[in-house]
């Protein structure tokens, strides 16, 4: 009897803990949603009303008056999708060399690729800014996109390589005997078999680029060339007290990320477990 009591008690404690932690993680979301639907007069009352008497969408409309939201949205979508294409194609291509082909010095070069991950971006940031300035790439999207077409980053190469190595080598041998070229094997066999890895890399890239701030901040000073992150930063700078509008803008910017999270949760969680890349 006492043993059962103890079991029930343990379960109750577990649930209490889980629920209070849920509150810590979820309450800010509800608070923000609530603020974004209130008029300014209703925001500054104490104690705060969690459910506004009347849902007010004026804050959302106001965002479009303050910043060229649709232009920024288009720019963000363009930069993000081009980068995803660049990284997915390029990192899988290079990973093919490390996972599926034999050539002298391969493993040493691979270790070197991994070592390059340690270099802080600050070291290369200034010379690259000068380089892109000199070739007239400032205020274009090229500095944000083009570098990703060359290898797609050490971490993504690593992730792809791990996945490719799990593909049975009989498949390659059979295709080679049939006279298929290495490019053919890469494109027709390896890529279609690696959809989960491609999706993981794509989702991680989306999160990284969609939220990127320092890149656009350095390279895009022209107001109409900005991304959503820059637009939101501009709003924060100009309107520190119009919380309703600021929260509405923040929610609109994170909506795509939330949608992608719910649709691709599996890839997301896998990617996060493997990388933890976030900043």
């Amino acid at each position: 009897m006492r043993k059962i009591d103890k079991k029930v008690f343990k379960k109750v404690v577990t649930y209490l803990l889980l629920i209070s932690i849920t509150v810590f993680f979820i309450l800010p979301f509800l608070w923000i949603l609530s603020t974004s639907l209130k008029s300014d007069a209703n925001i500054f009352i104490f104690p705060p009303k969690w459910i506004p008497d009347k849902l007010d969408f004026a804050n959302y409309a106001e965002v479009f008056q303050r910043i060229p939201f649709l232009v920024y949205l288009k720019n963000s979508v363009f930069v993000t999708s081009m980068t995803i294409i660049g990284i997915v194609l390029s990192s899988s291509f290079v990973a093919y060399a490390f996972a599926c082909l034999k050539w002298p010095g391969r493993d040493k070069v691979f270790i070197f690729v991994l070592i390059t991950m340690m270099l802080p971006v600050q070291v290369t940031m200034i010379p690259l800014f000068v380089l892109f300035k000199n070739i007239g790439w400032l205020n274009t999207f090229k500095p944000l996109i083009v570098p990703y077409f060359f290898g797609g980053g050490a971490f993504n190469i690593f992730l792809m390589r791990q996945f490719f190595r799990s593909i049975p080598s009989d498949l390659f041998d059979a295709a080679r005997i049939d006279g298929m070229s290495e490019f053919g094997i890469y494109w027709n066999i390896v890529l279609p078999l690696s959809k989960p890895a491609l999706a993981t890399v794509a989702v991680l890239t989306f999160m990284m680029i969609w939220n990127d701030f320092i890149g656009p901040l350095i390279y895009l000073s022209d107001k109409m060339k900005g991304t959503l992150a820059l637009g939101l930063a501009m709003l924060v700078g100009q309107t520190q007290t119009e919380w309703g509008m600021l929260m509405a803008a923040s929610l609109m910017m994170m909506l795509p990320a939330i949608l992608i999270f719910f649709f691709f949760q599996k890839y997301f969680i896998r990617g996060f477990m493997m990388s933890g890349i976030k900043d």
């Binding site: 932690i21 290079v94 082909l101 570098p147 290898g151 929260m247 923040s250 990320a257 996060f272």
Partner: protein, 291 residues
């Protein structure tokens, strides 16, 4: 056949090699050179030897302030993040109904970063009407000024970062914990070991390599803090959130002291390496590798 494969290997790896030469090696060499120059982008760089480095180390009080702020942020945030997410992982490893929903919920904030995160928390941390101080007021407590106080500005940013990263790290540790053989816990239970005994003498030692790896990564991430301070405080109040990378950015892109900022970048690399080496030294005492 062999020669053909070798040749193709070089072809497939070529994009990375070209990219590394242009976007890696070339800027690294340039950056070393810039750090030895006075350079404002408009005029050609003037070679001044190690003056940037000596100025930083011996003259620049903002440099030391930013080092202190960054080390404080790192030293408080890293252990809290590791311990907090480890305990979360232990909790969500329990087999109770609805656990999947709890895990997803805890992970949700991890998709919010950068500018959006900063904007949301500016409001949450608002001293008068923000979520946190409203809740404290509900219990009759008077909350601090958070980002407007020199004492509370760094803890405020740490709190925000824990909210946003905790669930993501929890998943990492959860994966590690699920790899521990169940028999170990069964033996401990037979010996009458409670929750703490199992955590302290089985869970922690068994996953200590993962804990160590993430301590190293977390420190490197902490050194990179930038966007939050740029958006929320611009380094204030009274430089209490002037973090290293914020100072570097201001030197490079507000003052256009590109040489000085390059020297800052190299000192950051040195600082990171030193701290990482110290971590490796300490790790020998607690990390337990299985053979």
């Amino acid at each position: 056949m062999k020669r053909k494969q070798a040749l193709l290997g070089f072809v497939f790896v070529a994009p990375w090699v070209i990219g590394f030469l242009i976007f890696g090696l070339y800027p690294i060499i340039k950056s070393i050179y810039f750090s030895l120059c006075q350079y404002d982008v408009l005029r050609i760089p003037q070679f001044i030897g190690i003056k940037n480095y000596t100025d930083l180390l011996f003259e620049d009080k903002y440099f030391w302030k930013s080092v202190w702020n960054t080390l404080f942020y790192t030293a408080v945030r890293t252990p809290m993040c590791i311990l907090g997410s480890l305990l979360l992982a232990v909790l969500v490893n329990k087999a109770v109904k609805g656990m999947k929903i709890f895990r997803t919920t805890f992970f949700m904030p991890s998709i919010i970063t950068g500018v959006v995160l900063s904007s949301l928390w500016l409001w949450i941390l608002n001293p008068q009407y923000g979520l946190i101080n409203s809740m404290l007021a509900f219990f009759g407590l008077h909350g601090p000024l958070w980002l407007q106080s020199t004492t509370w500005s760094k803890p405020a940013i740490i709190l925000m970062s824990l909210w946003s990263i905790g669930g993501g790290r929890m998943l990492v540790f959860l994966a590690a914990i699920q790899g521990i053989p169940k028999t170990l816990y069964e033996v401990a239970e037979l010996d009458g070991g409670g929750w703490w005994t199992k955590f302290r003498y089985i869970t922690v030692p068994m996953i200590s390599p993962v804990i160590f790896l993430w301590s190293v990564i977390e420190v490197i991430f902490s050194f990179q803090v930038f966007t939050e301070a740029y958006i929320m405080t611009q380094g204030g109040p009274l430089n209490s959130t002037l973090f290293y990378n914020l100072y570097l950015y201001m030197k490079a892109f507000d003052d256009f002291s590109m040489g000085y900022a390059s020297a800052l970048a190299w000192l950051l690399l040195v600082l990171t390496l030193v701290v990482t080496l110290i971590q490796f030294k300490i790790s020998k005492k607690y990390v337990h590798y299985q053979n």
